[in-house]
């Protein structure tokens, strides 16, 4: 959490921007308040390429790299058209960046990456990471990730992010130097630990509950949608058989021949049309998947809060118990049952010197404990503040994005219906001519 609240801005270009620039910025919907990286820099993931190389166990492997292009915005608006700076990154590097961000800004709902492997596939889509459609959708997903991060009021100011976008070779060294890896490991442990918080913040509990629901609901939706897609594919493709048989049959007939032949062509077209239809629907699925993964990130923020709260509660109760011990030692009164009290009764009390030593140790511990409690309290309060702001931001973004996704889905359905009307109207006319 060291960089929390650090608003060091990256040294690139000026901070002026006009309203026209904003409108021209195609990522209008993602521009946040405050000065974000995206306002100063145009970012895109332009291409994907295959490379070969050796992996960690020294075996040949093929992997895909993605080209990240950046250009300073003020240069563009001034009428110049500079060539973009660019570098190649592979998916695993994006993962490192994201893990770094998760650890460094635990109170932020960090945008997710596109899925590592194709999930919720229906039968036509291969789960092959080399499949060109999959690679293309991943390219879009990675670009989306960068745009979201670069337009986030807190995340966009991160130096490591900037290095990721601009320095091809040294970046990995730099990011590992931050020591985030160790924190990442302990974070994972903490997130899966079970502990009970005595005074949970209701808002966070509700938010965590919501994140669980969002996860289960979107994954169920994605599963059923994939099955529906599979069925749609089946229906359309079987019609292709009509095309073949009509064509063969038309050779037998005199009067019906022409009508059958052309009807057959329309059946072929109908069967073929489903590929594009379903490919487009895949983008809708991707939009839902993004929020499936976002749900995970949201949950992590809530869990981190619980952990912080728990640590505070533990520190407080530790302090209380230490104070109690001091009191007991000072007054000789045993108020509650304690092992010490028992041993005292059984073996007799200790010497005054022993007691003094213990007391001063306790005093030290109490001082430390009070510091810890103060720290933890501040930590908790700051966390709550930052997290709550970001969770609100996330909620608004989610509502906007999903609403747009649903509208997009309706548009896709309309397009599909229109194609269907066209094909079957044509077929109808052909049958009429039979």
């Amino acid at each position: 959490m060291a960089d929390a609240g650090n608003k060091e801005s990256a040294p690139i270009g000026g901070d002026e921007f006009t309203n026209t620039e904003l409108e021209n910025n195609k990522n209008n919907t993602m521009v946040e308040e405050g000065s974000t990286l995206l306002r100063r820099m145009e970012i895109s993931v332009a291409e994907a390429e295959k490379r070969t190389g050796k992996n960690t166990v020294n075996m040949q492997e093929i992997f895909t790299v993605y080209l990240i292009e950046t250009r300073p915005i003020d240069a563009i608006t001034e009428g110049h058209n500079p060539a973009p700076d660019s570098l190649w990154r592979r998916y695993s590097e994006f993962e490192i960046l994201r893990n770094y961000l998760l650890v460094t800004y635990p109170f932020i709902v960090v945008p997710p990456l596109p899925e590592k492997r194709a999930e919720f596939v229906w039968h036509k889509l291969s789960a092959d990471n080399m499949d060109p459609d999959f690679v293309e959708r991943r390219r879009i997903g990675l670009e989306n990730f960068l745009l979201r991060v670069a337009s986030h009021s807190v995340l966009s100011n991160d130096k490591i992010l900037y290095h990721f976008l601009t320095e091809e070779h040294r970046w990995k060294e730099v990011v590992y130097e931050t020591g985030f890896q160790a924190k990442a490991d302990s974070r994972i442990k903490a997130l899966s630990a079970t502990f009970r918080v005595k005074n949970p913040d209701k808002r966070f509990t509700e938010m965590k509950h919501y994140s669980d629901e969002l996860q289960s609901l979107t994954s169920q939706l994605l599963r059923v949608r994939a099955r529906v897609a599979d069925r749609v594919y089946g229906v359309y493709k079987v019609h292709g058989n009509y095309g073949r048989v009509f064509s063969e049959w038309s050779a037998l007939e005199k009067e019906m021949g022409d009508g059958l032949q052309s009807a057959g062509h329309h059946m072929d077209a109908y069967a073929a049309s489903v590929d594009d239809i379903l490919e487009e629907e895949e983008r809708y699925a991707d939009q839902l998947k993004e929020y499936l993964f976002y749900a995970e990130a949201l949950r992590a923020v809530c869990r981190k809060h619980e952990l912080t709260q728990y640590e505070l509660e533990t520190a407080s109760s530790d302090l209380i118990s230490k104070k109690q011990q001091r009191e007991e030692l000072a007054t000789g009164m045993v108020r509650t049952f304690s092992f010490k009290g028992m041993t005292n009764k059984l073996f007799g009390q200790e010497t005054p010197e022993q007691r003094e030593a213990k007391l001063s140790l306790l005093e030290e511990q109490i001082v430390q404990g009070e510091e810890t409690v103060t720290e933890k309290t501040v930590e908790c309060e700051e966390y709550v503040k930052g997290a709550w702001v970001d969770m609100q931001r996330f909620k608004e973004q989610k509502d906007r994005d999903l609403r747009e996704a649903l509208i997009g889905y309706a548009v896709m359905q309309i397009s599909m219906c229109k194609k269907g009307i066209q094909v079957w109207t044509n077929a109808k006319e052909c049958f009429h001519k039979m």
């Binding site: 048989v245 049959w249 609403r403 509208i407």
Partner: protein
Amino acid sequence: MSRTIDAVVSPTQTNTIPADISGQMLDLDEDDDLEVFSKDSTLADGNMFNASMQTSPGSMVNQCKFEEDEEGDSKDIFITVDNPESHVTAIETFITYRVLTKTTRSEFDNSEYEVRRRYQDFLWLKGKLEEAHSTLIVHPLPEKFVVKGMVERFNGDFIATRRKALHKFLNRIADHPILSCSEDFKVFLSAQAWELTTYKKQGPGFLSRMGETVRAVANSVRGVKNRPEEFTAIQEYVEDFSNKISCLDKVTQRIVKEQKEYLEELKEYGPTYTLWSGSEEELAEQLKGVAGCIERCCKETEEQVGHLSDTLVPVLHEYVLCAETLKAVLRRRDNIQAEFEAKNETLATKKVDRDALKEEIDKLEDRVEWANNALKGDWGRWQRSMRGDLKSAFFSTAEKNVDYYEKCLAVWETFLLSQRTEPSEETDRDNTP
């Protein structure tokens, strides 16, 4: 239609026929041949195509012309098949259907008849018609049992499908210029149950029917030697047609299956949006909206599948059966010709009563000619029906599909309209090619 003799059996052929079989043929054939194909002077004129096709002797009421009566010909007989009812006896359970006939034809005593018939009766009628008019194309009956799918004979869908097919069967016969004049047909439509039973018992007895079968088998073994080119062409067509129509039947049934499975998934899909809406505030309305759209599309899909099952599937199935009927008709025609050829050979090779045999051969020759012309005439008629039926079924299917997509389009457009409250939020993406 001109009268041409296609058979080119040379009387000098030397193949012999086993004497015993030919003897049987001569004995058992006579009555049938005389009834149907006689050159008896009681016929109005010598033109075979105006010959009465009644199976019971002496019944010469209608001289049905074998002309095409496509347009302008008024229908004078209307038949409906409906009202299936279950009957339970000690021995069996069966279904009867009400057959209602309304007609202005003079050979019917009344203008209206209401009788109840069971599947067996329809089978009997078909058998009689095919017996009397072996080279006419009789529309197929629905099958006795359904092999795959339903096992229960009394399943509601099964009965409904069968009823429609029986209705079509009778109406096709009624539309046929020759078949509709059949006495058996008349009896079927008008006789009370006990009358029909009595009537069925008449006619060629068991031995006679046996003879038919033996003869048919012998003929098919013998084979035909000089089949006219046009019938070979028809046979090739029927082979190909049979393949194609069977294919279409299978494809269509597969489509119905896939559509039904799609429908099942859709029924689960809508509720996932509704479920989600329960956890959302701002989004709840949109999510419920999408769920509603999917639900309405479900209903449309259900209707579309129903239409496919009711309209296209039965027609294709009928024509699969038709193809089999056609093959049988062609076989029978071949057999008639084969018999003629065999007798001709006998004439050339054996020492028999040449006069008697010659007379018989002449009758057979006429029979061949009549059979060929009947088939040729009916073939044209069948092709027209087939074209009409299939064109209409496919057209109707395409029309329904257009309707289906139009309704779904309206559903989604309504939803979209409800979402576009502010112009700034519009995304112009709905004009994808």
